[in-house]
Amino acid sequence: MAMEKTLPSYQQDRIKINDGEKIVSARPHALSDKVFNFCPGCTHGIVHRLVAEAIDELGIEGETIGISPVGCSVMNYDFFNCDMIEAAHGRAPAVATGVKRVHPDKIVFAYQGDGDLASIGTAETVHAATRGEHITVIFINNAIYGMTGGQMAPTSLPNQVTQTSPYGRDVSKVGFPIRMSELLATLDGPAYIERVACDTTAHIRQAKKAIKKAFENQVNGVGYSFVEVVSTCPTNWGMTPQAAFEWLRENMLPYYPLGVYKDVVADGFDDALGAAAARAADCPIAQQKREA
């Protein structure tokens, strides 16, 4: 299903391909020619590329509808070549629900940051997950509000200094970070939840596998799939990109352990419904057969 690699249009007049040469790596077709507006060293760009590669490899660009969030990736409707809808802050899962209900045969994904997904949109996130909406959610957790200039996020770490926690996040007063993958994994609706990072080549490879699987699950009707990408924000963390990766490894990964939090297929079920029914095996009403 992979598309033949061709140079993106903006490179075609700059790079000459000689006879006998072939392109082994190029910008994914699902990414537009628009130059990213992300800060240097930001991991949004990597994740955008991984999403686009997954879409390319599954051959689903023409059938995919994406939902953009509010936050640093707010303008990713310009970066993806598939149809896109810009949602209000936090509402992407609800918008995705509306789209998927109208077009159950299409692939619908939401791309959201931590403020969007885990603060203002917590209700939409949790309920789209528990409904088992057949959508794919890509969650960028960089422990800070980037777009607005570095305020405390629902995922900011204890004692993390931000613009709105200038003395460090005081958990005795403002509470604790939310581990969304763990929280959502308690629900019956999701089919697949994995937390990945993109600080090293190995982690990026794993992130790619997870993101592709999250789309593939939707193609196969397995159910709601959620990939959390532990990410960096060098600008608002006040670090160089390399130092930010170090900080991520040192502080974020111990708090947000990488790994698979739910995978109903790996557990031997066809889909989330099957796994949920098994979990409620002792509840008679939950076992009632429904008419189609």
């Binding site: 809808i85 209900r101 109208v102 939409e124």
Partner: protein
């Protein structure tokens, strides 16, 4: 609008207002309903929950009013006719989503079966959301068509129209009803059922590119000020077209009226009784019933004033909201006054009659004053 004579008998039925909204919406081609429970619109959602799955549609009870309107936004952006319904406190939560729909030019229908407010208010009929409905109900510079049914028949006719207006002008549209019209039963001729496939196509919708066209983007974000201004100006040109072509009202005993009662929805029904009684007493009073609250029927008000109407009295189930539009339309050319009850209290015809008599006396149009001319 349904033609009574040509409609089969089975389409003339006795139904509750809220259920008629649901049935007529489905007949208009709506297959997607997203909502959250609230009194007094409950029957609408219950009817949809029962019927929509049987015709291949989707009824989804959302986790909140906010989620529900954003589902409507998504479904509308994906090209479908979609709706949500609620009552006053719940409609407040929809303001955000409606603003995004207006900003991204996404059609959809919002029903508000009003109850008393502010805050949790009460559950009895009210018209206290007139401002919210007719001014931008969320942030930003926008309007939307607002239709106000006064009978169960109009519940059917106007929601049918609302879907057409929403699609034609790429805008959200609202049905502003109240708990009285929602809860009452009347005979109704249902409009013909339309196949959603037969509706005009929406080439702008996000339906997947199928690798055959540039990607569609449904969006309300414009970081370049000039672009945002251009977008808003284009939208207001559409609003001007709506104002020029879509003002709707009913006139009753208005031809020779010195006084016009301006009233919509439930209060217009009570006003009609009061007007008949005032006519029996020789007062030349009539009714101007706005059917579109936005665009407000200012042309009809101006024509009435041109035709000799001296005074306009706005009768509302609130503390005086539509009266501001009446005053703007009259522009100082007629006496404008207000009478209202609020909190779910309905005025009696006698109360309104008293107001009419007092007004007639004040402006010198009472029968006795006339006789003395």
């Amino acid at each position: 609008m349904a033609d009574e004579k040509s409609t089969p008998v089975e389409d003339r039925v006795l139904m509750k207002g809220n259920e008629v909204l649901a049935e007529a919406a489905m007949r208009a081609g709506c297959r997607y309903f997203f909502g959250y429970p609230i009194t007094p619109q409950t029957e609408l959602a219950a009817y949809m929950a029962k019927k929509l799955p049987k015709i291949g549609g989707t009824f989804l009870q959302a986790e909140s009013e906010i989620a529900a309107i954003n589902m409507v936004y998504g479904a509308g952006a994906a090209g479908a006719r979609a709706m949500t319904s609620s009552s006053s406190p719940g409609v407040s939560l929809k303001g955000e989503g409606v603003s995004y729909m207006a900003g991204a030019d996404v059609p959809g229908v919002i029903v508000n079966v009003e109850r008393g407010g502010p805050g949790l208010g009460g559950i009895q009929p009210s018209q206290s959301d007139y401002f919210q409905a007719t001014r931008a109900m969320g942030h930003g510079d926008f309007f939307m068509p607002v239709l106000a049914p006064s009978t169960v028949q109009e519940m059917a006719d106007l929601i049918y129209l609302a879907f057409d207006l929403a699609d034609e002008y790429r805008t959200p549209a609202m049905i502003l009803a109240d708990g009285m019209i929602g809860q009452m039963m009347e005979p109704v001729t249902l409009p013909p059922a339309r196949d959603p496939e037969s509706l005009p196509k929406k080439p702008w919708a996000t339906t997947g590119t199928h690798m055959e066209r540039e990607h569609n983007v449904v969006n309300s974000l414009y970081l370049t000020p000039q672009k945002l201004e251009d977008t808003n100006r284009e939208r207001f040109e559409r609003y001007e077209k709506i104002k020029a072509t879509q003002q709707r009202q009913e006139l009753f005993m208005a031809d020779d009226a010195d006084i016009l009662i301006v009233a919509f929805g439930a209060s217009s029904r009570i006003a009609r009784t009061a007007i008949r009684r005032a006519r029996d007493k020789g007062i030349k009073v009539g009714l101007l019933r706005p059917i579109t609250l936005w665009p407000f029927p200012e042309d009809a008000i101006n024509q009435a004033i041109d035709g000799g109407c001296k005074a306009l009295m706005s009768v509302e189930l609130n503390m005086g909201q539509m009266v501001e539009d009446v005053r703007l339309a009259a522009h100082g050319r007629a006496d404008v006054s207000f009478y209202g009850r609020t909190g779910g209290v309905l005025p009696t015809p006698e109360e309104i009659l008293d107001q009419i008599e007092a007004l007639a006396a004040r402006i010198g149009c009472a029968p006795s004053a006339k006789a003395g001319e």
